[in-house]
Each structure stands twice: as structure tokens, then as C-alpha cells.
């Protein structure tokens, strides 16, 4: 059992466990922290897959910026475990669990039939994930989407302004 596999299993379990805790834990703050943990685990996977750029971006953008934003909001509203509305409707609770679980089951069962899922994934080698190469591609082939995403940001910005500007 190579080190890579050990790391893989460790990170997977970490990701799954913390993800479960995101769903399970009462206090929103804990949820956020567990989510950050999950993201770290995922970034770890990226590193295993030698997608360094994404790993970094994931940590900086997601775990860093976005999650902190979440945290701020939660703090701002000072939500905590006892202010947390917990699901009274047990029926919905169970049904939700069953539905999600069976979704997993269905897809897994489907994939079991598929032959092409046996292909190998290239671990910690191959250089496509390096910032240099991705940068090259991003600013040559993918320049148009890149530009277009600016429109996305603009609209998001305008939207945020429109929504949160106090009307006088």
C-alpha cells in the first residue's frame, strides 16, 4: 500500500467525515469550519492529482475568501446552536436521508455496470495542472470565456449593490 494510497484514503475519509459533520452539526459556525476542513481535504486531493493551481485557488478562494464571507455573515447575524432552526418535521428528515442515500445507491449501482470506470487516473505526475500551462491555455484558447465571466462578475456586483443598497 503506497503512500499515495494511504493519503488518498485518509483524505477521502477526512472529506466525507467533515462533509457529514457539515450536515450534522448544530451550530452554523461549526458547519462552516467543517466545510473549510472539507475543502482542505479536497485541495489535498488536488495536490495528489498534481493539480497545484486548483489546489491553491481552492484554498485561497474557497476556504479563504468565500468561507470567511460566510463566517462574517453568520457572525453578523450572530447565529448559534440555540438560534438554529432544527428540522421539526421528522418525516422530511428521514425522507431527505433516504432520497439522498438512494441517489448515491442508484448512481453507484449504475456505474458498477459501466466498464469504462476502470480507467486509471494519473497521480502526482503530469504537468497540465501547473499554473504555467493552465495560464497558457486560459489566455489563448479560453480567453473568450474569461472575458465573458467578467460580465458575470459585473452583474453579480450590480446585483449585490441593488440588493443591499438601503433605499432612502
Amino acid at each position: 500500500m503506497s503512500i499515495i494510497e494511504i493519503l488518498f484514503w485518509f483524505l477521502s475519509l477526512l472529506a466525507l467525515g467533515s462533509a457529514t459533520m457539515v450536515v450534522a452539526s448544530k451550530s452554523p459556525v461549526y458547519c462552516i469550519l467543517y466545510l473549510i476542513l472539507t475543502f482542505f481535504a479536497i485541495s489535498g486531493h488536488y495536490i495528489l492529482l498534481n493539480a497545484q493551481f486548483l489546489a491553491i485557488v481552492n484554498i485561497i478562494v474557497y476556504a479563504g475568501a468565500i468561507m470567511v464571507l460566510f463566517l462574517f455573515v453568520v457572525m453578523l447575524m450572530n447565529l448559534n446552536a440555540d438560534s438554529e432552526p432544527h428540522q421539526k418535521n421528522k418525516w422530511l428528515l428521514y425522507m431527505g436521508g433516504i432520497a439522498g442515500g438512494s441517489l448515491l445507491l442508484v448512481i453507484v449501482a449504475a456505474l458498477k455496470q459501466g466498464a469504462e470506470t476502470g480507467q486509471l487516473v494519473q497521480m502526482n505526475s503530469g504537468n497540465i495542472g501547473l499554473i504555467k500551462n493552465l495560464g497558457m491555455i486560459l489566455f489563448t484558447d479560453y480567453v473568450f470565456p474569461f472575458e465573458i465571466s467578467s460580465v458575470l462578475f459585473l452583474s453579480a456586483m450590480v446585483g449585490a449593490v441593488v440588493i443591499s443598497k438601503r433605499e432612502v
Binding site: N89, L103, A110
Partner: protein, 637 residues
């Protein structure tokens, strides 16, 4: 086409003109004018008919084609008038008797308002028109036009006093029962059409009687003739459709005389006589006709025994006489039947008009129990009435004797038992007629005071037709004197020979010896005489006795409860079914289903919108279930 008989269109046309003039100008014309026009047109067409008669007698028959009534690839119906011996004879009867009755009416209906008077005459003219179309039609469809037309006129005339609801009911009954018959007639015509593709008498009879190619199977012929006979029963008031005729007496008496005694009710006989070949080729039908006729004759006679309404008695006697005619047709004595039609037209019209004259002077009273002894008040009426009674009772040498005897003779040849029953009926006829006569004219008056001093002989316009008809009733029979009295005495048979020739040779001959024929005559005449005398002296001292009849008498007085039977077997169930359909099936089942769909949609809408609970959680849950279903279908099915 330049046949003199081309002008026969005038015969029905004139009454039509009369109808139009009287009908449209009813508000402006004076009574006298109306009467003159009304009767005048009939007289004119009578004269033309006489001319036509002689033309035909000289052997000139003709089918006049005027225009194509219907002319399509599938159906050709010419508007044709056929003038031959048979139709000519009927023309004479209709226009002749018709004219007399018009004349009679001018005085009889004189109390009416000018407007209604005109209405009455226009209807009467219309009737004559339809009747003429009926007998002159060159094919079954034209005949059917007249056939329905006379039904309509009788409806209008029975309901002439439309304020009285019973009269309207009687009229309606007459029309509807006729319709039942008409349906049979129509179906027969369709049958002919579908088999032969034509309804022209000539072609039909030619095709049918052609021995080479059997165009009609026996089943076809029997079916057709039976259906035709159904039509006849409706029009000519035979079992089972006879009950309308007695009720039809609601109409004015001249109407009863004209339509319900002399002419319209004989349409059935005319029709069968016209299509005699068909009937001769369908022995089964013939026996049916004979039996039905016989049964009707007896049944009606029995009922007539116990009636107290003078017109009702005559009505039932009419039904019974018609029965005899059908018996005649049934046994193949077509000439005899037609002969009896003619004589019956004379004496029955006479009797009705006489009765009318009586009713007139009794101030509308019709119950013979309140009459009696009218002899000394109204002598002409009395005398003519007596002659009429003798004629109908079949006393030689009055007309009734000859015609009825011919029928009975033929019947005996066919089937002695039928003959026996027929004779029995004849006896009853004699009995109830003289019961009627005695109770009306003999004995002493049983009416009220003012009725009594109001009694008077009717004016000339009434008596004149009576006298004419009386003469005819007496002498009318002499054109048909049997062979054994006088060789070649049966001039009518000679005259009608061309019509019935084919049937004659087809039909199986039953010859009966002169001796037995004498015997039969003797029996019937003597029997009738006995019945006659018995009734005479029994009822000439009739006293009014209160209280209901009992036993069989009651049944007879209630006409064998036939009306009640029909009411409970046909009318009431029909009403019930109709009510059930309109209240239950229509409202609840069919419309219920349609509205039910709408309700279902509304209900479904009300339920399904509850899915939209407003809860994001539920929405997502449902979505996930949707996802699952799609996955399962796509991946595992």
C-alpha cells in the same frame, strides 16, 4: 299526350282553388258566397268526373304525366294521375257524395261565424282535393301524398271546434293512429323501391306479375302486402287501429258522413284493390286480411249493439261494414269489396246525414235514449233513414243486399266458417240498425219539453241530399245484380274487369252451385229479417231505464275496454319511459358524465395544487424523487 284525359288535373285542382279562395278570403267572404264557391267547385269536378267516366267507359284509360316530382338517378317519381275504371268509380263517389254533403253543410253549419264557416268549407275542399289525389295518383308516392293529406284534413275537421279539448284529443288520436298505419305504408313503399326501384303502378304490377323473372320472393310480397295492409288498417279503422274512428265523431256530422263513412275510410280498400295483384300473389296476407276484416266486423257489430250515441252506433256500424269490405278483399272478391264501398258510401252517408238532421232538430242532442217518436215531426228524414237502414241491413232489393251478398258468397266459397260468422255479423247489423231506428223514430218522445216543441223538419238544403242519397241507396245495387238473377246483370264487374283480370286468373277458382247460392242468400236474408223485426218491436216501446248495464252488456257498452287496454299497455308505459329518460338518463347519466369530467378536472386541480406547499424542502425533495425516477427509468429499464 294529347289525350282528352289529360285534363283530369282539373278535378283535384278545382277543390284546391276552392280551398285557397275560402281559406285566404275567410275574413271577407259572406257565408252565401263561401257556400257557393265551396260546393260549386265540387259540383264542377263532379261534372268533369262524369265526363271522364264516360270517356273511360268507352275504354279509354290514361296515365297523365304532369311533371317530375322527384327525378334523381336513384329515384324517379312522376307527378302522374292515372285514370282507369277503378279511379273513375271512386272519382264519381267522392265528388258526387262530396257535393251532396257540401250542399248539406251549407245549411247544417249555418250557425257558425262567417270566418269559421269559410274555414270549414276550405278544409272540406282541401279534403276532397287530397282524396282525389289519393285515388288518381299514378304511383304509390302520389297516393301517399293524398293518403297523408286526407289524414291531415280529418285531423283539422275533427278538431274543428278547437275550443273543446276532448275534440282536440280525438283529432290527435285520429292523426297519430293514422300515422302508425302510414309508417307501415311507407315501409312497404320503401320495400318496393329497394326491390323494384319504382313505385309506378304499371311497372310494379308488370314486374311482379311477370312469371319469368321472379323479382320478388314470396317473403318480399308477403311482407310488402302485410305492411300495406297495416297502412290500410290505420286509414280504414280495422283492428287494431280502429279506435280512432268512433272518437272522430266529435267532428261536425257532415264531416263524419263524408270522411268517416263515405270516402276517406275506404281509402284502405281502394289501395288494396289497386294493388290486388300483389295481394293475390300473397295468400298468407289475404287470409290475414280476411280474418282481420271478419274480426273487426264482428267486434264492431257487438259494440254497436249497446251504444246510445246515435253517431257512435253509426260509427261502429261503419267499422263493421269496412270489416266486410276487407273480408271481401281477403277472399278475393275485389269487385264485391269495391261494390260494397260504393253502396256503403250511399247508405252510410245517408244515415249520417239523417242522423245529422235529427241532431240538428234535437238541438244537438245525440243520445237516442232521449229521442223517440220523431216520425211524426220529420217525415222525410224518417223515411230516408228507414230506407238507409233497410239497405244496410241487406234487405233485397236494396243496394246493401247485393254487395254484401256478393262478399258473403265469395267467403263461403273460400271458407264456410268465415261465412257463418259473417252472416252472424249481418244479423247483428240488422238488429242494431233497427234498434237505432226504432229508438229514434218510433215510440213516443223521451226528450225535454223545449226540445219537443223545437222539433221540426230540416230545410231543403238538408232534405234534398237525403232524398238523392236515399234513391241511390235503394237503386245503387242494381248495377251489380248477380249472374243467377240476370245474365250480364253485374255491369260493375264488367266495368272493373280490366283491373282485376290478372288476379282473377291467378286466383284459384271456387265455383259454388246456384242452389247453394240461393240457400245462402235465403239464410242471410231471413236471419236479417228476423233480427230486424225483433229489434223493431222490442225497441219501438223502449222505456228509459236508469242504472248501468250488467254482465256482457257492460263490457259491450264499454267497447270491450279496448281504449283502456291501449292506454295502459302503450300510452302509459311510453310516458313512463319518456319521463325516465328525460329525468334520469339525460340529466344524470349523459349530462352527468359530461359535467362529471369538468368536476373531476376541478377536483384534481384543487388536490394537485397542494403539492405546491411553499416549502423549499418539500420542493427539493420532490425534485430529488423526480431525479431518482428518471435515473431508474434511464439506467435500469
Amino acid at each position: 299526350m294529347n289525350n282528352t284525359l289529360q285534363i283530369v288535373w282539373l278535378i283535384p285542382f278545382l277543390p284546391l282553388v276552392g280551398f285557397l279562395i275560402n281559406g285566404l278570403g275567410r275574413n271577407n267572404l259572406s257565408k252565401t258566397l263561401t257556400g257557393i264557391i265551396g260546393s260549386g267547385v265540387i259540383l264542377a269536378s263532379f261534372l268533369i268526373s262524369v265526363f271522364v267516366f264516360f270517356s273511360v267507359k268507352s275504354g279509354n284509360t290514361h296515365v297523365a304525366h304532369y311533371f317530375d316530382f322527384i327525378n334523381t338517378p336513384s329515384l324517379k317519381v312522376g307527378f302522374d294521375f292515372q285514370t282507369d275504371q277503378l279511379s273513375t268509380l271512386f272519382l264519381l263517389i267522392i265528388t258526387g257524395v262530396g257535393f251532396l254533403i257540401h250542399l248539406y253543410s251549407t245549411s247544417y253549419m249555418h250557425e257558425e261565424k262567417p270566418k269559421d264557416f269559410a274555414k270549414y268549407f276550405s278544409f272540406l275542399n282541401l279534403f276532397i282535393f287530397s282524396m282525389l289525389v289519393l285515388v288518381m295518383g299514378g304511383n304509390y308516392i302520389i297516393m301517399f301524398i293524398g293518403w297523408e293529406g286526407v289524414g291531415l284534413c280529418s285531423y283539422l275537421l275533427i278538431g274543428y271546434w278547437f275550443k273543446n279539448n276532448d275534440y282536440n284529443n280525438a283529432a290527435k288520436k285520429a292523426f297519430i293512429m293514422n300515422r302508425v298505419g302510414d309508417l307501415g305504408f311507407l315501409l312497404a313503399v320503401f320495400w318496393l323501391l329497394s326491390k323494384l326501384g319504382t313505385t309506378d303502378y304499371h311497372q310494379v304490377f308488370a314486374l311482379v306479375s311477370d312469371p319469368q323473372k321472379k323479382v320478388l320472393s314470396l317473403f318480399d310480397i308477403t311482407g310488402i302486402t302485410l305492411l300495406l295492409f297495416v297502412g290500410a288498417t290505420g286509414k280504414s279503422a280495422q283492428i287494431p287501429l280502429y279506435t280512432w274512428l268512433p272518437d272522430a265523431m266529435a267532428g261536425p256530422t257532415p264531416v263524419s258522413a263524408l270522411i268517416h263513412a263515405a270516402t276517406m275510410v275506404t281509402a284502405g280498400i281502394y289501395m288494396i284493390a289497386r294493388s290486388n295483384i300483389l295481394f293475390t300473389m300473397a295468400p298468407a296476407t289475404q287470409s290475414v286480411v280476411a280474418i282481420v276484416g271478419l274480426a273487426t266486423a264482428i267486434l264492431a257489430a257487438t259494440i254497436a249493439l249497446k251504444q246510445h250515441d246515435i253517431k257512435k252506433v253509426l260509427a261502429y256500424s261503419t267499422v263493421s261494414q269496412l270489416g266486410y269490405m276487407f273480408l271481401g278483399l281477403g277472399v278475393g272478391a275485389y269487385t264485391g269489396a269495391v261494390f260494397h264501398v260504393m253502396t256503403h258510401a250511399f247508405f252510410k252517408a245517408l244515415l249520417f246525414l239523417g242522423a245529422g238532421s235529427v241532431i240538428h232538430s234535437m238541438g244537438g242532442e245525440q243520445d237516442i235514449r232521449n229521442m223517440g217518436g220523431l216520425k211524426k215531426y220529420m217525415s222525410i228524414t224518417h223515411l230516408t233513414f228507414l230506407l238507409g237502414c233497410l239497405a244496410i241491413a241487406g234487405m233485397p232489393p236494396f243496394s246493401g243486399f247485393f254487395s254484401k251478398d256478393e262478399i258473403l258468397a265469395a267467403t263461403f266459397a273460400k271458407n264456410p266458417v268465415w261465412w257463418g260468422i259473417g252472416v252472424l255479423g249481418a244479423l247483428m247489423t240488422a238488429f242494431y240498425m233497427f234498434r237505432l231506428y226504432a229508438m229514434t223514430f218510433l215510440g213516443k218522445f223521451r226528450g225535454t219539453r223545449d226540445q219537443e216543441h223545437h222539433l221540426h223538419e230540416s230545410p231543403a238544403a238538408i232534405t234534398f241530399p237525403l232524398i238523392i242519397l236515399a234513391i241511390l241507396a235503394v237503386t245503387g245495387g242494381w248495377i251489380g245484380i248477380p249472374e243467377l238473377f240476370m245474365h250480364g246483370g253485374h255491369r260493375l264487374e264488367a266495368f272493373l274487369e280490366p283491373i282485376f283480370a290478372q288476379s282473377k286468373e291467378m286466383a284459384v277458382k271456387h265455383e259454388i252451385s246456384n242452389a247453394s247460392e240461393y240457400l245462402l242468400m235465403g239464410i242471410s236474408v231471413l236471419g236479417a229479417l228476423v233480427a230486424l223485426l225483433y229489434a223493431w218491436n222490442k225497441y219501438s216501446r223502449y222505456q228509459k231505464i236508469e242504472g248501468e248495464e250488467t254482465g256482457i252488456g257492460k263490457v259491450l257498452a264499454h267497447k270491450w275496454y279496448i281504449d283502456e287496454l291501449y292506454d295502459s299497455v302503450i300510452v302509459k308505459p311510453l310516458q313512463l319511459v319518456a319521463a325516465f329518460l328525460s329525468n334520469v338518463i339525460e340529466k344524470n347519466v349523459i349530462d352527468g358524465f359530461v359535467n362529471g369530467v369538468g368536476k373531476a378536472v376541478n377536483y384534481g386541480s384543487r388536490q394537485i395544487r397542494l403539492l405546491q406547499s411553499g416549502q423549499v424542502g418539500t420542493y427539493v425533495l420532490l425534485m430529488v424523487f423526480g431525479i431518482l425516477i428518471l435515473f431508474i427509468i434511464q439506467l435500469f429499464l
